[in-house]
């Protein structure tokens, strides 16, 4: 369910990093909690984001939730396909429905994030 090579935040985002190239998304647990997602608000390419700060939001029929960046860096690409098909976040949050690609300015920040097994016990405890 939760890919081993991803790193996870307490706010339910994931990041996949290779050197300074990263991909960010929200977790399957997040999409389950939000319910049917109807809109995704993403930053512009070139935006600088700080780890732990919000860079966008996800709106479901229940609520609007901020997206917190797991790492610091510059947004280099956003997933344009989510504008027309936000429902992909409900069906494939760890794959096709990634949110943004980022150039990490401090790749070592990855070390502060949770592993797949840590994250699973974290959401188990939260419930």
């Amino acid at each position: 369910m939760y890919p081993e090579n991803y790193r996870y935040t307490k706010e339910h985002e994931w990041v996949l990093a290779d050197g300074d190239a990263g991909t960010i998304g929200i977790t399957d647990h997040a999409q389950q909690e939000l319910g049917d997602i109807v809109y995704v608000d993403l930053p512009k390419v070139g935006t600088h984001v700080e780890s732990g700060k919000t860079f966008g939001s996800v709106e479901s029929v229940k609520a609007v939730s901020d997206i917190y960046s797991p790492v610091s860096g510059e947004i280099v690409e956003i997933n344009e396909s989510l504008a027309d098909a936000p429902e992909k976040l409900n069906t494939d949050p760890h794959g096709d429905a990634w949110l943004v690609k980022i150039k990490l300015t401090r790749p070592e920040e990855i070390q502060n994030l949770m592993s797949a097994s840590d994250y699973q016990s974290y959401i188990g405890a939260e419930k």
Binding site: D36, V38, Y39, E59, V61, K62, A63, V64, P86, E87, K127
Partner: protein, 506 residues
């Protein structure tokens, strides 16, 4: 019974009743679709002056050609259209409206009688002050009453509703801090807050920092102590909070803020739990707003606009919006010349008709009456909590005040979520409670009965909730497809949000 005497949508076949068509009242076309050229719902007297060509008199560029296809119907068609639509509505005049955090209390008819008093209803905002003394006195009286109820020093009646009051309040804080030399950067907001609080802070130019609630649902003092730095302008707190739990540490919270030169803002959305019992000004609040359409029984939407007066301590008074009421002897005037004022936040003097209704409510109750209303509101909520606790999970066990928040934990294990239970409640004739808020409760059912309800109505609500809890066990799929007894069955909220159709086309 003769055939004519029956509901025309039904026919009797032996002992079986079947629908033959949809009754008119259940299937109302848009007014645009009823239009027929030349029909009118008005009659004008014959023209007794020479006709004027509008394009010639006003300039051709001011004659709009693009407004076409306005509905043309007769008077009786217009009346029937809106009367039928009104029967689709749920209203506080129809039954219990337990929408948590909204304080859907009954709007007493005396308010309407008073608001229709000729001298008040027909007053014009440009009338000279000397001819508006009655209206000004109504406002002065209400300002004083609200200041007394809140334990504050001054009140502005201008803001049009709660969120507008919040913004006004935070702008007052910003103005004071600016005058002291540094507006600061951040506003702290608990994670149980109404969504309007962070929106207000952002619009007023502040960054928002969240504080997690403690296990009992209150502000975590240790976390607060750490977060309050010289960058923090204020904490926005709702008390009692959105769990209906009174913030027991509120005096301590105020001290922590004041020690660092920060202010305490209180969202007065839940004042219905405090009026006549406790005064925010006495427990350290510097500025707060009230929702007259919640606590003070003026209509919510539809029936009239809201009002969100802001009450402040003396230190913030110089910054209040202009004009301010000023009394010299027997005469009341408007004071526009206040150099520290943040300026107007609304045209004229607030939603005056609403202010009249709120004052009527306050005076009809009197001090002891207001206190009684508060105690009844809390009693009703506690009564519901005790009756429903065996059937629904209660995540925060602290004593609740005017509202109670359950979670759908037990029911969701059977596949039924809070939204499904709410839809099923419609079948039992009640307006749903507040669904999925506050966010700190998983699958929240937020119930606020207000003092309006007597025991009979509350008991039938409780019985409905217990019956639904039973249905969740025996037939969860049935509950998930509710409602059934309504004009429209379950609507597709997801498609409506993903692919909204915002404009009617013929």
């Amino acid at each position: 019974m003769s055939d004519q005497g029956m509901n025309e949508s039904r026919m009797v076949h032996g002992d079986k009743i079947t629908k033959v068509t949809t009754h008119l009242s259940q299937n109302e076309a848009l007014l645009f679709e009823r239009s027929s050229p030349g029909k009118k719902a008005y009659q004008l007297p014959e023209l007794d002056v020479p006709a004027v060509d509008a394009a010639e008199a006003l300039g051709a560029e001011n004659v709009r050609a693009e407004i076409t296809d306005f509905p043309e119907v007769s008077e009786v068609e217009a009346i029937r259209h809106f009367t039928r639509l009104s029967t689709w509505n749920y209203a506080i005049d129809y039954g219990m409206y337990p929408l948590g955090s909204c304080t859907m209390k009954y709007n007493p008819r005396i308010n309407e009688v008073v608001a229709r008093t000729e001298g008040l209803a027909w007053a014009h905002p440009y009338q000279p002050e000397s001819l508006s003394q009655g209206c000004l006195e109504v406002m002065e009286h209400l300002e004083n009453a609200l200041a007394e109820i809140c334990g504050m020093d001054a009140v502005t009646l201008q803001p049009a509703a709660g969120a507008h009051g919040e913004l006004t309040g935070i702008l007052l804080i910003r103005a004071l801090l600016e005058k002291r030399g540094n507006p600061r950067k951040k506003i702290l907001i608990p994670d149980s807050a109404h969504g309007t609080n962070p929106a207000t802070a952002a619009i007023a130019g502040y960054a928002v920092e969240n504080i997690k609630s403690s296990e009992t649902g209150g502000v975590d003092l240790a976390a607060l102590e750490q977060l309050v730095t010289s960058d923090v302008a204020a904490l926005m707190v709702t008390n009692p909070n959105t769990l209906g739990v009174f913030e027991n540490n509120i005096v301590r919270v105020a001290e922590i803020l004041h020690k660092k030169g920060a202010m305490l803002y209180m969202d007065g959305a839940n004042m219905n739990a405090l009026v006549g019992i406790a005064r925010p000004g006495d427990f350290g609040v510097d500025v707060m707003h009230l929702n007259l359409h919640k606590t003070f029984s003026t209509p919510h939407g539809g029936g009239g606009p809201g009002a969100g007066p802001v009450a402040v301590k003396k230190v913030l008074e110089p910054f209040l919006p202009t004009p301010r009421l000023r009394r010299s002897g027997k005469k009341l005037t408007f004071d526009y010349k206040r150099k520290h004022s943040i300026g107007r936040v609304k045209s004229y003097y607030g939603n005056f008709g609403v202010l009249v209704r709120a004052l009527a409510y306050i005076l009809a109750h009197g001090g002891p009456g207001l206190k009684n209303a508060t105690m009844d509101a809390v009693l009703n909520a506690v009564y519901i909590r005790k009756a429903l606790e065996p059937y629904f999970d209660l995540p925060y066990k602290s004593p609740n005040m005017h509202e109670v928040v359950f979670s759908d934990d037990r029911q969701s294990k059977l596949g039924v979520r809070t939204g499904d239970i709410a839809k099923r409640l419609i079948d039992y004739g009640f307006h749903p409670y507040t669904v999925s808020f506050p966010m700190i409760v998983h699958g929240a059912l937020m119930i606020e009965p207000t003092e309006t309800e007597g025991r009979l109505e509350i008991d039938s609500f409780i019985n409905a909730m217990i019956a639904i809890a039973g249905e969740c066990e025996t037939d969860p799929q049935m509950v998930k497809n509710a409602p059934y007894n309504t004009r429209t069955s379950r609507v597709d909220e997801v498609t409506a949000a993903r692919k909204p159709v915002l404009r009617w086309k013929p």
